[in-house]
């Protein structure tokens, strides 16, 4: 009997302590961000995921920064000018040092860019500095000046230099090799690495010797909270200050919460379904347009995303330079049926739609929705999915390898915020598989316009060329244009100045917490 009462007592005490112990209150000099995945490693030249860039871009800085509005701003570099068609001269800011004391100079920048260009290092973003298959050449002019020469005129280069993958690592660390760079971080940025507990969290501390304006928050904690639902619970409880990738279904609930701001930021990724224009029935432009008329993207956005997506009005998202708004294909079942009939597509024709699963937000769901909608115009859609690593090689195969794909869903993000990156690889006839132009779209006029736009340095001329190219592409519909992603982030309302960038990186440098 005594044993039992004792046990009961323990249980009561435990229960009571649970109820009394509230969530740990977050201190005002620490900002906790709940992100969905862990960083891959600490080498900013090797990582590919946006959570990795979010963390590492507080430690490492590239030469320029791209503002959320798409404006190039100086960061480690003071200025950039084109001294010739193919050469850019960059002047660095003086007096900046890495946290290990090494000075930032043109040699350091060259070492970093050369490291990325070295194929043996396998940098995934090497292509940012490759023009027409030729790597750019980096030359040191004097201590704070360098020149980058490309094989052909390349207007997007300054934008490319703002990409996180070209962040500048201390040359001393660079010399120690990839292994050292994967587990150590020495940069010029406003924060330094305090600790990285794998699959749990990364802790950054304010850099006391930062060359720029010191950030207000002392400690940044990037906590890995994989479960969507768990991130919501934590932001509501206040155990984290920022929660990324809020599931659209939770938006109304969070908006109703007085302590939380739901911040909506347009993203740079467009989700689309490309048609293989070499295969039936999508070799006929009428059929492609019919599909565009049949699918009610607005309904998908409203119901599946609770409005947290942008119906596409161009092949890429609005914040990107070169965007030109087109008239979206509004749902018109009659028109769709008519076009199909004209093209001779019989009622009940089966078409196979490939889609990835778990790669993009709600990708399988959207594919299912498309299937349901196409059924209404007499197209019988069979859904097929593959694991991501097999998916891309399968749907973007050269025709000679027996490519029988009819249409397939993919996403494309434009981290450089420049239309060249968004259009050239996808619509230029030279980029057909094994390149990225999975739809095998080929239009000589579009080719010419894209080539012109990338070699002219005059922004207005580029915009005009892109505008024309886009309207042709829109008309010829090599894609089912769907939507571009919107990032939904939940932030506690006592935090101000936190920036969610369209390129999915998070910037806490200017944040303050009350």
């Amino acid at each position: 009997m005594k044993q039992r009462t004792f046990a009961l007592l323990i249980v009561t005490v435990l229960l009571a302590s649970f109820l009394v112990m509230g969530p740990a209150a977050a201190q005002s000099d620490t900002l906790t961000i709940a992100s969905g995945t862990d960083i891959e490693n600490l080498n900013i030249h090797i990582v590919t995921s946006s959570p990795s860039f979010s963390v590492l871009e507080h430690i490492y800085e590239p030469l320029f920064s791209m503002s959320p509005e798409g404006e190039l701003e100086p960061l480690l570099a003071e200025s950039i000018e084109a001294t010739s068609d193919t050469t850019y001269r960059i002047t660095l800011k003086e007096g900046i040092s890495f946290t290990d004391g090494t000075p930032l100079n043109a040699e350091a920048v060259k070492a970093n860019l050369d490291w990325v260009l070295d194929e043996a290092n396998g940098a995934p973003f090497r292509f940012l500095l490759v023009v027409n298959g030729e790597p750019a050449e980096v030359a040191v002019v004097d201590e704070y000046t360098l020149e980058i020469t490309t094989a052909a005129p390349f207007a997007p280069l300054p934008a490319h230099l703002s990409h996180g993958a070209l962040g500048i690592i201390s040359p001393a660390l660079l010399e120690q090799g990839a292994d050292a760079m994967a587990s150590n971080a020495v940069g010029t940025g406003p924060y330094v690495l305090e600790s990285w507990s794998r699959a749990e969290e990364v802790v950054l501390k304010r850099n006391p010797d930062y060359w720029g304006e010191a950030p207000a928050i002392e400690t940044l904690v990037f906590k890995v909270v994989q479960e969507d639902g768990a991130r919501i619970v934590e932001i509501e409880a206040g155990t984290v200050d920022v929660a990324v990738r809020v599931p659209p279904a939770e938006i109304p609930r969070l908006e109703a919460n007085p302590n939380i701001d739901v911040v909506v930021t347009p993203g740079l990724r467009t989700i689309y379904v490309f048609f293989n224009v070499n295969n039936e029935p999508f070799d006929d432009v009428r059929v492609r347009q019919a599909v565009n008329y049949a699918v009610d993207t607005q309904a998908i956005v409203d119901n599946l995303f609770e409005g947290a997506a942008l119906v596409s009005t161009a092949p890429f998202a609005p914040p990107i330079f070169g965007y030109a708004e087109q008239q979206p294909y509004e749902r018109d079942v009659e028109r769709a049926r008519q076009l199909l009939a004209e093209a001779g597509v019989e009622e009940g024709t089966t078409v196979v739609l490939y889609h990835p699963t778990g790669r993009y937000v709600q990708d399988a769901l959207v594919a299912d929705a498309i299937r349901a909608q196409l059924a209404e115009v007499g197209l019988n859609v069979e859904l097929r999915t593959l694991e991501w690593t097999q998916y891309v090689p399968h749907v973007r195969r050269p025709m000679e390898e027996g490519n029988d794909v009819q249409f397939a869903m993919l996403g494309w993000s434009t981290p450089t915020m420049d239309a060249d990156y968004a259009l050239f690889a996808l619509f230029h006839s030279s980029e057909v598989p094994p390149g990225f132009n999975g739809s095998f779209y080929s239009n000589p006029e579009v080719d010419r316009l894209l080539e012109e736009a990338r070699s002219t340095l005059d922004p207005e001329a580029r915009k005009a060329a892109y505008s024309e190219a886009i309207s042709i592409i829109w008309e010829e519909a090599p894609w089912l244009f769907l939507y571009s992603e919107i990032q939904v982030t939940a932030i506690r309302n006592n935090v101000s100045g936190f920036i969610v960038h369209p390129d999915e990186s998070l910037i806490a440098t200017f944040a303050e917490k009350n």
Partner: protein, 314 residues
């Protein structure tokens, strides 16, 4: 005793070799070139060539296996495709976390499982007995991950709702504080606890039929002493064996539990690696878990022989 240990060790060796061979060979199940699978799709041609050389694909399969084991024993299990960090390092960081979870679950499940089992055996066919056995069967039938999800809903949403609390009673996922351990332990232990209860009850029932129990009672011994000193101690042997095996099963169940609660252990490493097609990690993690399982069984066998001398000469 030493002879027995050596014998058992020698017997375990072929199993280890066989299991490691299975893990080594399985990479060839992946459609396509195994070197490409192990190097990752974004790898440079140089790195792929490196991997191919290490695999030695043109050599007979036994030589390849010898190379593989040789490398593993030197600590080289390849590199993670996703992070580029050596597989051994990734595993080393995460394994202790899983061991923590599994150990605590084992203790919890044993304590409660044995207690319930003993009580059931001493009151056979009572309401307690019938009820607890039904519950135990339910516990075994319940998918661990579903139980985990239900616990999450209960502690993070329902309880705060009912009591009007500002936040979740227990943090739904992650690690770091002891509160993070509670739900994963409950979920992981539930299955084991149920099994342990049933097994204990069965063993105890058998033991309690024995003559020496009747003698002890006839001698006027206190019932509690009869049950514990004479009954449980003798029933303990098979229970201990099951305990040891449970640890191995817990390692397997940890995979699911860690996924649900995002506990950063080796189970979650494995699942994430599968999603990313990070085959070197998949191979390494499976090998480590399987080896641990074999070694645990070995240890339990030896322990059993130590406790019951009759086994040594079997």
């Amino acid at each position: 005793m030493t002879q027995f240990i050596i014998r058992r060790l020698l017997l375990a060796l072929p199993t280890l070799i066989g299991a490691s061979f299975l893990v080594f060979w399985s990479i060839r199940l992946v459609p396509g070139d195994p070197a490409l699978a192990l190097a990752g799709e974004l790898a440079t041609p140089e790195y792929i060539a490196q991997v191919r050389e290490k695999l030695g694909l043109d050599q007979p399969i036994l030589i390849q296996y010898a190379n593989y084991i040789g490398n593993v024993l030197q600590g080289d299990m390849g590199r993670s495709v996703r992070s580029g960090i050596p597989v051994l390092e990734e595993i080393q960081i995460r394994l202790p976390r899983t061991l923590l979870l599994a150990s605590i679950s084992l203790i919890v499940s044993s304590v409660f499982g044995i207690a319930i089992g003993v009580t059931s055996a001493t009151k056979p066919n009572s309401w307690f007995d019938g009820g607890s056995m039904i519950f135990a069967l339910l516990g075994v039938s319940m998918p661990i991950f579903w139980l985990g999800l239900m616990l999450m809903i209960f502690f993070s949403v329902l309880l705060p709702q009912w009591f009007g609390l500002p936040g979740p009673v227990l943090p739904p996922t992650g690690s770091g504080t002891w509160q993070h351990l509670v739900m994963p332990v409950i979920a992981l232990a539930a299955n084991s606890m149920a099994l342990q209860a049933r097994m204990t009850r069965a063993c105890m029932l058998e033991v309690l039929q024995q003559d020496y129990i009747r003698t002890a009672r006839a001698k006027g011994q206190q019932e509690r002493l009869v049950i514990y000193r004479h009954g449980l101690r003798n029933a303990l042997l098979p229970i201990v064996t099951v305990l040891g095996l449970q640890f191995g099963t817990l390692l397997g169940g940890a995979v699911l539990t860690e996924t649900v609660f995002a506990w950063p252990g080796i189970g979650r490493l494995l699942v994430d690696a599968i999603a990313f097609r990070d085959y070197p990690i998949v191979q390494g993690a499976v090998l480590v878990i399987a080896t641990g399982f074999v070694l645990t069984n070995l240890f339990v066998d030896i322990l059993y022989a130590y406790l019951d001398p009759r086994i040594r000469y079997a």
